[in-house]
Amino acid sequence: MSLTNQVTAADILRISGVDASRCMQCGKCSGACPNYDEMDIPPHRFAIMVRQGRITELMESQAIYRCLSCFACSQRCPRNVEPAKLIEAVRLTVIRQKGQNHMKADSIPEKLDEKLPQQAIVSAMRKYSK
């Protein structure tokens, strides 16, 4: 199922509460990102792309599923842009649409192992599905 709803930069501002136009592209967020290698769009580019209104590209990125929500980017941002909130807002605009859950409950049993804490499942389902 494809994405049906158009999403604008204004939607991202409303959901995230973050004004991406404050970003001055210093790159501290990407320097701090512990999962930088896995982010097809690193945090500083993510922020500028929100500012440019390139939301569809962001919605189709892997970055929205690879962010660890560790808040290193938000902590180190000198302008309070909080890239983690922008990434979460874009992910929400995807998974809130019909048929767009990134992780489905059916896929969980095969991922289980004896030690896996419930917290992992709850957290992943909260992040990846609605």
Binding site: R66, L68, S69, C70, E88, Q119, A120, V122
Partner: protein
Amino acid sequence: MKYSYYPGCTLKTKAKDLDRYGRLCAEKLGIILEEPDNWQCCGGVYPQGEDEIATKLSSVRALADAKEKGQDLVTLCSACHHVLKRVNHDMKQNETIRLRANNYLKLDSPYQGETNVIHYLEMLRDKVGFDNLKKAVVNPQTDRKIAPYYGCLLLRPGKVMAFDDPEDPRIMEDFIRAIGATPVKYSQRNECCGGYLTLENKKAAQKRAGAVVDSAEQAGADLMITACPLCLYNLDANVPEGSVPVQYFTEILAEALGVKEEV
């Protein structure tokens, strides 16, 4: 000293050690932890969306319950602590979230962020005091070189969590000294363990956990300690076999206070 105590789901299942050692140690230190009757899962992750209300309500219920009892709310799991603390901050600072959450809940009196949320480690530091903790230790862990693993959720965002210096924390090192052991400082102590990514991209999660454990080993640690069940999992199950072991901080505390054998 009497507190409301929010254990969270995982402490009832896979992380029973974190909970039962925590309770035993509190008892030994003369602290009463009262678990509310009807707490609900915090959701594991803080919902960052400003328009996410329903996903914040379970936290508000626990916070409002503690307010009614006139107690501070103590947490033990890093994730629960993070979620409760940030939702509490929203209820204090964000007028829209406060209004919408209260419209849902229809409590006798609106909840406005009155409850003080403290992590167990903060309770040890600020309420018990590390000097007093030191005096209560019967088995000082003198030969141990312990690497404290802070991870993300206790520290960041620093302005909201107000737990310690988010870039150069010392509370766990001070805790380790109080139980007679030597803290080991290493570069990855406040970098992410991989978190929930273990279910989405195992390889990337393993890389992250490996970097953390490797950093602790290089610094000469013989044990790592954490307050988070998911960190414990990643630092244990997602690293090569034979790596430095990881334990809940409450377990080593129970050992130091001489109550571990009671379990």
